[in-house]
């Protein structure tokens, strides 16, 4: 594996409410290498967005990082003071959010925003920064960039805006990009363009990407590895081909079976009974056990630790050769 850009170990994020402490993420560990795209997939409430926010350091009170560590390269970033974190954000970590309408300031020209990012994090002069901004716009596929650099966000279409947002994220040559649902608000045909763009740029620049989304299809096409999250924990993490074609965790299996594809011939989609537990009512032991078709005694009391099976880490007692396996 190439050099590790992001390393998350045993991360815990908790929210203090008047009803008690809610644990949104409970012991998440993952790593992303240079030029690699890690997909973080899960349904609503699984904690994938919170994971992304925690890495960037954007967990607002009443939430806080309650345990574990996050390392960018070799440096720990989860315990940095806000000022230092702010400098890392933008310079070493870039962000792409779902809604391009709100990611760009509507009052400023697109060029101004890119140049501002460049000059905040590097020493380039105004002229050089502008030239670099035009280069970036060309790279992301904006036609006639010398002209469009002076346009306002509302003058761009949805797909073009998202490309500008990608350019903005890449402006300071970050090592890592956190992309939270970058294609969800886009039309299908534009989605494809943006995914292809993201893949190409990350290969070329060697940027690591954490791609957070609920759309498994996007992950299948774009990601190298994928982490499937459930109830604030990672159920399975491994190479995309393995997890999609031969999922091991019963939840991942159910998930892959529930997604309609263009080629499957099954009459009925696989159904996982019930729904993801609320944060206030996470079951003991394995969080998935009430819905699991392969549940047995141990699952109800002991929380499974991730076990290496093939190239994948699975958090499921079924794969634990030591204990009472199914």
């Amino acid at each position: 594996m190439t050099e590790t850009v992001l390393s998350v170990r045993d991360l815990r994020v908790a929210f203090e409410t008047r009803r008690g402490t809610l644990t949104a993420i409970d012991g998440v560990s993952l790593e992303i290498g240079r030029g690699e795209i890690l997909g973080v997939v899960g349904e609503s409430g699984a904690g994938k967005s919170v994971t992304g926010s925690a890495v960037i350091g954007l967990i607002d009170p009443p939430g806080r990082i309650a345990g574990g560590e996050i390392r960018l390269g070799s440096e720990r970033i989860d315990d940095l003071p806000p000022e230092k974190m702010r400098r890392i954000r933008g310079r070493r970590i870039g962000m792409i959010f779902q809604d391009p309408l709100t990611s760009l300031d509507p009052l400023y020209r697109v060029g101004e925003q890119i140049v501002e990012t460049i000059r905040t994090h590097t020493d380039l002069s105004a002229k050089t920064a502008r030239a670099r901004a035009i280069d970036l716009l060309t790279e992301v596929g904006i036609p006639a960039p010398e002209r469009r650099i002076d346009g306002y966000p509302h003058e761009f279409s949805g797909g073009m805006r998202q490309r500008v947002v990608i350019a903005l994220a890449l402006a300071a040559e970050p090592e890592l990009i956190i992309a939270d649902e970058p294609t969800t608000a886009l039309d299908v045909s534009v989605q494809a363009q943006v995914i292809t763009l993201l893949k190409r740029l990350c290969r070329e620049h060697g940027t690591a990407v954490m791609l957070v989304t609920h759309d498994m299809g996007v992950i299948a096409e774009a990601a190298d590895r994928v982490a499937v999250m459930y109830s604030g924990r990672i159920a399975e993490i491994g190479p995309v081909a393995e997890v999609v074609r031969a999922p091991r965790h019963p939840y991942a299996r159910g998930l892959m079976g529930a997604i309609p594809t263009l080629s499957d011939t099954a009459e009925r989609l696989t159904q996982i009974p019930g729904s993801m537990p609320r944060l206030t009512a996470i079951p003991p032991g394995c969080a998935f056990h009430p819905r699991c078709p392969n549940v047995f005694g141990r699952c109800r009391v002991e929380r499974p630790e991730p076990i290496l099976v093939g190239g994948t880490r699975v958090a499921c007692h079924l794969y634990d050769a030591r204990g009472e396996a199914a």
Binding site: R18, Q271, P273, G274, S275, P277, R278, T280, A281, P290
Partner: protein, 321 residues
Amino acid sequence: MSARMDDAAEAPDAPRATPSRLARFLGSDLWLNFRRSKLAIGAFAVTLLMFGLAFAAPWISPQNPYDPAQLELLNSNLPPLWNPDGQSPFLLGTDDQGRDVLSAVLYGLRLSLIVGMLGVVVSGFLGIGLGLVAGYFGGALDTVIMRVADVQLTFPAILIALVVDGVAKASFGSALDTNATILLIVVSIGLSFWVQYARTVRSSVMVERSKDYVQAARLIGLSSPVIMVRHVLPNVTGPVFVIATINLALAIITEATLSFLGTGLPETMPSLGTLIRTGNRFLFSGEWWVVAFPGIALAGLVLAINLLGDWLRDALNPKLQ
């Protein structure tokens, strides 16, 4: 049938029975906020006290100040009881006609509150009704109603109340008895304050109208008035309570102002404003109690209601949570 298995097996923590309304209220954020806010509790206590006193006025007043038979000129201009010249049972003194100030204040409070609340009801109905219609139908109707509202907002409410009141008095003058006068004042107040309700309700209605549940209601063939009242109205009344509370204080002040200016309630049936007016004449001759106590009562009432309304507005504002 397998469809049955699914969500029914969900969240074992979800109780089968819905908690009663009272239980839901007591567990709500609003109640918690209230319990924590000393200001809100204090304001609410004062308001409740005033309401209680006003309601019980006929029973707890030492005398009925409107009944000329109970008045004796001998008792006139007596200072409050703690003053050496004071006389029992006139706790707060008497005015120039022998009326007990305490009784007058209690009865006046009652009248002020009645007029104020009726005024709120009138402006509420008018405002909510017009807001509903304007927001739901849009188009020309909306434009007309909103322009009228805009024009009305350029005038101070007191002025409008004065105009309505004055015109009516000039037209009907002597034909008005006291009940009609009260009605007239209520209508004047109502007509001057409907705009706030209308605007707020209108914007809420416009939001709700685009929601799918309204479309679903249209699909089953319900007529517009039915949809407006049964579906939309319950969802737009939230902000109305805040407006009504603050409006109540304004209505009371407006009535007091009208009475003070002489165009409100007659002196034979005094509200707090009329009392202040009468008492004002004696202020410089040293008889301060006739104006002071109604004034304190009015100020206290309005302040308490305003504080309550402010708290309610902040408590219901989701952005401030």
